[in-house]
């Protein structure tokens, strides 16, 4: 049977109705990584979900009263309790015998810092919740203050460089390992530079009964100091330099990594962002910090075995990029 259609096959896919959990028209900045990530996550999670969202940019830019950009049931309670609110929602659904999946959304501040306790409790008790952390590496909603996710040496308004300081003094917290240490079924990192990888991981998590965790690297043009149209490039470089390893952990053990075909020099990533500007000065301390950051990248590459074996891999950090939605083009 053949069907006549006036639409060329190549455009057909665009006509295909696609579920959207987060509509356009929200108030995020141009090139906001978080907005993109939230759209990808909700799109892949599908309509049979409900969301507990922590305070943060995502919450603010999607719901300027009386408007809302969400097409799924969504509640914002407070900054520090998304994990617990989600746990309550899940318990209620369970009590009612319903299968709707609960998602919890938080920024890095809401996850690594102030909401950490509620998150840990939720994981430990085994609630059937997918917790997504939109990691833009600072408190953006309040104007770019450091969080425990802010990379070492990065400038924020509470970790400014100066006579006595070279940006943030401490290291980025390794949250995914801490989460995995709860021995939950599935924990993973992802990046907006790799949309199909995000989709795959969300679907994977949705299929699991139990607590799952996804940490997505989301550049913030405003807070990182790069142009809005460079968000994807910046995100990709974070992965390709080894600074943001893309990994999957099952029951606490490393299960999968995205290999790096061409490892990029770390400075390529840093140079694109104003938040690392002070590291490119004559200051001796700057040189020291650059070496420090390179050591962190090298360490990641080493412990996660990120170096690819030399061959072409559709799922490595070069190939993944070209694996398009709904089909695979071998790189």
């Amino acid at each position: 049977m053949t069907t006549e259609t006036a639409i060329p096959i190549s455009k057909l896919r665009k006509k295909q109705p696609r579920f959207r959990g987060l509509e356009s028209g929200h108030r995020a900045c141009l090139g906001c990584g978080e907005a993109l990530a939230a759209r990808l996550v909700t799109e892949s999670a599908g309509p049979d979900v409900m969301v507990a969202n922590a305070t943060g940019c995502l919450e603010i830019f999607t719901t300027p009263w009386p408007e809302s950009a969400w097409r799924i049931p969504w509640v914002h309670s407070l900054f520090e309790n998304a994990g617990a609110v989600a746990a309550g929602m899940e318990a209620a659904l369970k009590a009612q015998g319903k299968s709707t999946k609960v998602l919890a959304f938080g920024g890095d501040g809401g996850t690594f810092d102030i909401g950490f306790q509620a998150l840990s409790g939720m994981l430990e008790r085994g609630h059937n919740v997918l917790y997504v952390c939109f990691d833009n590496e600072a408190y953006m909603n309040t104007g770019i203050q450091r969080s425990s996710s802010t990379p070492h040496a990065a400038m924020t308004t509470t970790s400014p460089p100066g006579k006595e300081r070279m940006g943030k003094r401490h290291l980025k917290k390794d949250i995914v390992s801490i989460v995995a240490a709860h021995h939950i079924p599935y924990a993973a990192t992802a990046s907006i530079a790799y949309p199909s990888d995000i989709r795959k991981k969300v679907r994977r998590a949705m299929a699991i009964e139990g607590p799952t965790f996804l940490q997505i690297h989301c550049p913030c043009p405003l807070g990182w100091g790069h142009e809005g149209d460079h968000s994807i490039t910046v995100a990709r470089l974070a992965v390709q330099t080894g600074l943001y390893p893309i990994i999957e952990l099952e029951r606490g053990g490393l299960a999968n990594v995205m290999p790096l075909r061409n490892i990029r020099p770390m400075t390529e990533y840093l140079k694109m962002q104003q938040r690392f500007r002070h590291l490119f000065t004559d200051d001796l301390r700057a040189k020291e910090e650059l070496e420090h950051l390179q050591a962190i990248a090298d360490h990641n590459i080493e412990i996660y075995g990120l170096r690819s074996d030399g061959g072409k891999d559709a799922f490595d950090s070069e190939g993944m990029d070209t694996v398009r939605r709904g089909g695979m083009r071998w790189a």
Partner: protein, 185 residues
């Protein structure tokens, strides 16, 4: 007391413009007050800031509803309802615009002066930040405060290359509008 309202978009340096204005007044031994109408908005969203300048202490802290002057950092904002609301009779509008002053005045039915501040800023600063150019034009038009004071407060706010370029920018911008056109009678 002179009240001024500045309209712009998040990222255009609205609050900085308001602060610089009040700081310049302060440099000339007048009283100045400046504050933003802070929204939970992001880059690109319409924002406002208020400035008061007076010869005696300013006590009130309410928003400026009836400004004598409006400074509009993005012409498209003139389409946003409420932007020109409350302008005093005879009030003046300075707009960052590529149109001519005459065209704008006719469109608005109010006395307006246009300055291509974004283009100028892009040319000199390399960034589309129109605020200091508009301030320079405003100072020239009103003669309320001197360019020297503006340079002085820029010196307090910026340094290095950014300062140098801004100083260049305000000098050029000041020359593009008729001096004293809006001088207080």
């Amino acid at each position: 007391m002179i009240e001024i309202r500045i309209h712009g978009r998040g990222g255009q340096g609205n609050v900085v413009a308001a602060y610089l204005l009040a700081m310049a007044a302060f440099e000339e031994n007048r009283y100045g007050q400046a504050f933003p109408n802070f929204g939970a908005e992001r880059r690109g969203a319409p924002v406002m800031a208020f400035v008061r300048i007076a010869d005696s202490p300013i006590q009130r802290r309410n928003q400026v509803r009836h400004p004598a002057f409006l400074i509009i950092q993005d012409q498209a904002l003139l389409q946003v309802p409420g932007v020109t609301d409350g302008l005093l009779p005879g009030g003046k509008i300075l707009v960052n615009s590529r149109q001519s002053s005459a065209e704008l005045s006719e469109q608005l039915g109010k006395e307006a002066v246009a300055l291509q501040a974004t283009a100028l800023a892009k040319k000199i600063l390399g960034r589309p930040v129109p605020n200091t150019a508009l301030l320079a034009a405003f100072f020239t038009l009103t003669n309320m405060l001197s360019q020297d004071s503006l340079a002085l407060v820029l010196n307090k706010r910026f340094k290095g290359e950014v300062l140098e370029k801004n100083l260049q920018l305000i000098q050029q911008a000041a020359g593009l509008v008729p001096a004293g056109l809006w001088k207080e009678a």
